[in-house]
């Protein structure tokens, strides 16, 4: 029997039924926390590292749920569960990349409960940070993961700025590769961000993983039809086949005609504090034949300038090979 030391400290639980009500509550109160599936939040609460005074719980807002056709694409509510995304006929038939990424998140139970929005905006899993160490990201003045003696096998190989943690989202890369947009609400109205701009690194703000500020709510993800039924490639490499976050993942949408790459979007996650869109690689391969030579060039360019930490240099060839496979279109 587990010894439970984890009674969650008390908070006020607020259960709005509309987006307007939710953003009003977030605006009115200090030290609030947005709770969707709760799989990121509960650890913070039980460890008593995050102690919100009030929690805005979103499961009662129907407007945040469901998958709708929008123009030539799809609009997915941020509160839609990962299981619903992975099993949706529309997502599977036209944007299989996202269905595949969603189906490989964690476990069946977590996908049944966890939401697309929660998967996208989840906080990093750096264990120094999650363990409550007072690091830069937690408002302190040191990074415990970046030293030569740190346990940093899972940390980043590029894009570090004081913090070396990585983004753990699987769906983030897929949505960047599909050219998706994130719709964000607050009391002043709605803003729309391109998926690749939605995720930010520590150089911009070391305490946030996304552009979301207190008071903001991610409401929907819009996927345009541009890459519907493109040649998709998804591969997630992880230590355990279940539960685990990616060590490195790659998501690619490639449109070819007569064996030549016409246009492409490629994103890699697990290598930087945010998912990285490989714009240089996309430019390089556009107009080239989808063959081994192109794939090798793409892999080399993708990993140029990587600076591994003490224990994660394996991520350089891993990322290089994943990008190669994506460009070549190997069977994953």
């Amino acid at each position: 029997m587990a010894v439970i030391r984890d009674m969650i400290p008390s908070f006020e639980l607020l259960q709005p039924t509309s987006v307007d009500e939710a953003v009003d509550l977030l605006e009115q109160r200090d030290n609030t926390w947005v709770l969707a599936g709760g799989l990121d939040s509960m650890d913070w609460f039980k460890d008593r590292i995050k102690r919100p005074d009030s929690v805005v719980e979103l499961s009662g807002i129907d407007a945040l749920k469901g998958i709708r056709t929008s123009g030539d694409g799809l609009e997915i509510g941020a509160g839609t569960t990962l299981t619903e995304v992975a099993n949706s006929a529309e997502v599977q038939s036209r944007f299989g990349l996202l269905a595949q990424a969603a189906s490989e998140v964690a476990t069946p139970q977590i996908r049944n409960q966890g939401t697309l929005g929660g998967n996208l905006i989840q906080d990093t899993r750096c264990w120094y940070y999650r363990g409550g160490w007072p690091c830069y990201r937690a408002g302190g003045n040191i990074c415990y993961a970046g030293t030569s003696r740190s346990m940093n096998r899972e940390h980043c190989v590029t894009g570090a700025s004081r913090c070396v943690a990585v983004n753990g989202s699987d769906t983030a890369g897929a949505l960047i590769a599909l050219g998706a947009q994130m719709m964000v609400r607050n009391t002043s109205g709605e803003r729309v961000f391109e998926a690749e701009d939605f995720f930010i690194g520590p150089a911009i703000d070391i305490q946030r993983m996304t552009v979301l500020q207190p008071g903001d709510l991610l409401t929907h993800v819009r996927i345009p039809g541009d890459y519907a039924n493109a040649r998709f490639y998804w591969e997630k490499v992880r230590d355990r086949k279940s539960w685990d976050w990616a060590l490195v993942s790659v998501a690619a949408s490639i449109v070819e005609s007569n064996g030549t790459i016409e246009r492409a979007r490629i994103a890699v996650n697990g290598i930087a504090p945010h998912p990285v869109r490989l714009t240089d690689v996309e430019n390089l391969i556009t107009g080239m034949p989808a063959n081994n030579d192109t794939a090798d060039a793409a892999g080399s360019l993708a990993t140029r300038g990587f600076r591994p930490l003490r224990h994660n240099d394996y991520k350089v060839p891993l990322a290089r090979n994943l990008v190669r496979r994506a460009v070549r279109g190997d069977a994953a």
Binding site: I4, S10, F11, E12, L13, L39, K46, T107, Q109, I110
Partner: protein
Amino acid sequence: MSAVEIPFAEARSGPSRRTFIKGVIATGAAVSSSNYLFRTPGALSASTVVRSTLPRMLTLNVNGQTRSVDVLPQETLAMTLRYKLGLTGTKLGCDRAECGACTVMIDGVTHYACSVLTQTVRDRQVTTIEGLESADGTLHPVQQAVIAEGGFQCAFCAPGFIMSMVALVNENPDPTREEAAQALSGNLCRCGDYDKILNSAMRAAEFSRRMA
């Protein structure tokens, strides 16, 4: 222990611990829950207590029964089931959504009860391992299959695995072994008895097909 009474003083006019426990008994909970809930004195009063507008007395639908229970805003479903409703078939292994021992069904879909706030299942149907057998006490085909195959060694993880198996056979009555393994990939067995567990899952599908 007096420190733990602070949150309750908000809702009631300063009850003693004894009157609180009496209240819990009256709502159908096990007495033994008090030890458990109060094992960490100070936990409940650790942060500023904010008055919640939520009803503390909830009506939950558990295993087809309507149960009234006094629930804190921050209370997880696993806590409510085990320590207030006495449904100790649902196990707490890690309390971190990392082991699957607390798997229950909410509206027919498997969830980790350790990571669901009880307040969010007010209008939903909760099914625990205790709710699988039929009214006359006949075990669910999945339970029968587990017995037939001797599926578990220590069986602490069994209730969670069995809930996942029920979800599997409901969704896919004729799974391959690989599909069964996928469906059970959110549950851990520390005895490492996965082969027999998968045998049980395949047998469970067979029994369920025969019953259908």
